[in-house]
Symmetry: C2
Subunit: 412 residues, 2 copies
């Protein structure tokens, strides 16, 4: 859980409600100026802000950013990575993304995909699984992995920031659950919806891309604790600080972001045997309310310099909150959007459970990578965590009606 | 999906609302007499009916039946089977069930388990994961498998109806996901709750029982379709018809039931390529509304004798609705309570998805077993289904305050 604690109040406060959800009004009502500025090259922003929600729980697919970044975290997520087929060139990738977009527009409205837009040569069809089921704040967020660019006409277009992540000490990655050419993050308050939406995308990828991996996560309806019992997401920055803007950003990425995904297994059987004080010291916060061990409430900044009467630092040298605090404020900003998972038992009988962690940022090289380097070296929490899956994607900016993600890249 | 269609209106109608939930008032307001009769040997029925729900979403653990049978199906379930240790005799099993009960009473009220009731010798403790999280209609339902009775003082007490299930044609069971000495069905509208409740039970089983398998399922918030797109649970009988009563039933089982659990994988990649008419004929119902192919609405009885002008039966000889229809009405009554699952990809890239099916009945030998024998032989749906896990449990009657499930058995 790198960056659980950047220890910096967001520039523009978007307070969570008692359910831990950020009010859409707080985020968008008062921040129209900032949003418009961030929208950058996206000319035709819709009148609906990202995250505005219809009474049926439909979140618009179109907007200045892809939904699923600023959108308050849904209760369920299904992450999936696809690999393009060898024959899938720039033009065919473009057709695939357009097909997925057409389906996403309908699915997010609670409609069945258009049967006339099945891929050529596919015998499979929609079976109406979601008929009568509300989208429940469904969002689909598409991303491009480093490998996406390994084809003619795209090799030069890979942004420098989209480098494969370096190896970190103690990573125990399963390559089959890492990387991928295309990311789809499917979020909804209904696990049945995320499940069938993934099936739909898989069907529509026929002949062009193959599902490489899929992972699920969930959150409590009204809590912010993870499976270790810690309050998660304290002092998350304003998510807009993870969005890309400015003349140096290629048009297809303006209003977009970079996302790092890590599947972090928790060694819960061990964790649950630790004395409570030991658990609190590993994090640097109190279990009961998330306040720093140096006092105050959850939102009080941690006093990293505080020492006990005997001269020992209150926040240990290897406490998570100390090591996760970024050295360089501006470049290291990460917005975290994570879910718990529990996929049953390992062959050794221990739980296959933990955190499906996502970090959104303007440049992983200055944000996730240095923070995770510090954590992997000495974080007291890390001995109870195993990083088993890892991926990084560039997340294109928002989509205009008729367009699709990364259109400027693939048609440029 | 044996018994998707017993084709018989329930004796006492408990109509589902548009969300497919049975009204608690319909079930309990008008049926107090029936309930009292069924309560049988349970002397101190609480004033709250099973399924009465507090405003915070707390369903009482105590009552004439265990919660989780008559309770309207929750959105999430985690099924788990435990095996007793060799040294765990009748007395130690009794202590384990009492410890689990004490935790269940608190967890279903939204409280953390009593820290003074950790098992002897265990170093693990509660880490407060559910602090601040509502139980969201949490129920815990305990059952005893055939193997539970393989210990001194219990061998003679195993009911004849609790026989291991026979092998069925085309079963492809993974023994590691079958059977078990103890069942816990953990249902809640919150997946985070079911997850940590299982962790808690596992911790409290320290030294006495080991988690053998666990499986999860989910339902749509507002739909009754399964992942094949079929409307599920049509003509489910009144669940009270699955409850045990009468002088021949041992006291610990009065008000209880027998549950068969089957994890039925769906070969969705194949299913999705079938022509819509072929899919409807395999089931015998229309996809759009669940009405029989012989006409009417979802609740219209199927006319198994109807023939087309050319003399061919409208409902094919191998249609699921025909084969699932019980030969003997009374003895074959099964109440189904099922969830979908999708656990990612198989090594061959196909989805590991399907139905976590449960059937509740008075005797599996006259209900589930003959129905499944017919289905396994010729059901047109069965070529798209693979039964991969199977278990049967006796589910004791309801628990009085201070008691625990199967108390009369273990202290008798």
């Amino acid at each position: 859980m790198p960056g659980t604690d950047p220890e910096r109040p967001p520039a523009s406060e978007a307070r969570p409600d008692p359910q831990g959800r950020v009010s859409r009004r707080a985020l968008f009502g008062t921040a129209a100026g900032g949003l418009a500025a961030l929208a950058g090259g996206v000319a035709a922003a819709t009148t609906l802000g990202d995250g505005d929600e219809s009474p049926s729980g439909a979140i618009p697919f179109h907007g200045p950013h892809q939904a699923g970044i600023l959108t308050p975290r849904q209760r369920h997520v299904r992450m999936a990575a696809f690999d393009l087929r060898t024959h899938t060139d720039r033009g065919r990738a473009s057709a695939l993304l357009l097909r997925w977009t057409a389906a996403a527009e309908r699915l997010t409205r609670g409609e069945v995909p258009d049967p006339r837009r099945e891929p050529p040569g596919s015998r499979a069809a929609e079976t109406g699984v979601l008929t009568g089921t509300a989208p429940a704040r469904l969002t689909l967020t598409f991303g491009l992995g480093p490998g996406f660019f390994d084809r003619p006409g795209l090799t030069e277009a890979r942004p420098d920031a989209l480098a494969p992540l370096p190896a970190f000490p103690d990573d125990r990655l399963n390559p089959a659950h890492c990387d991928g050419h295309l990311l789809v993050q499917i979020g909804s308050d209904d696990a049945f919806v995320t499940t069938h939406v993934l099936r739909t995308l898989q069907r529509l990828a026929h002949g062009e891309a193959r599902l490489r991996w899929t992972m699920t996560g969930f959150t409590a309806a009204d809590g912010r604790r993870n499976l270790m019992g810690q309050i998660d997401g304290t002092n998350n920055p304003d998510p807009r600080r993870a969005l890309l803007a400015g003349p140096d950003v290629p048009p297809w990425l303006r209003g977009g972001s970079y996302v790092v995904i890590r599947r972090i297994r928790m060694l819960l059987d061990h964790w649950d045997t630790l004395p409570p004080a030991h658990r609190e010291q590993a994090l640097g916060r109190r279990a009961v309310d998330g306040a720093p061990l140096t006092g105050g409430t959850e939102r009080t900044p941690v006093d990293l310099a505080a020492v006990r009467p005997d001269g020992v630092p209150v926040i240990a040298a290897n406490a998570h909150v100390r090591l996760a605090a970024p050295a360089d404020d501006r470049a290291a900003v990460m917005f975290r959007r994570s879910w718990s998972y529990h996929d049953g038992l390992r062959p050794d009988g221990t739980p296959d459970a933990g955190l499906l962690f996502t970090a959104w940022q303007q440049d992983p090289r200055t944000a996730f990578v240095p923070v995770q380097r510090r954590l992997a070296r000495g974080d007291a929490l890390s001995r109870y965590l195993v990083h088993e899956a890892s991926a990084v994607f560039a997340v294109p900016g928002g989509v205009r009606p008729g367009g699709y993600p990364a259109q400027e890249l693939l048609e440029g």
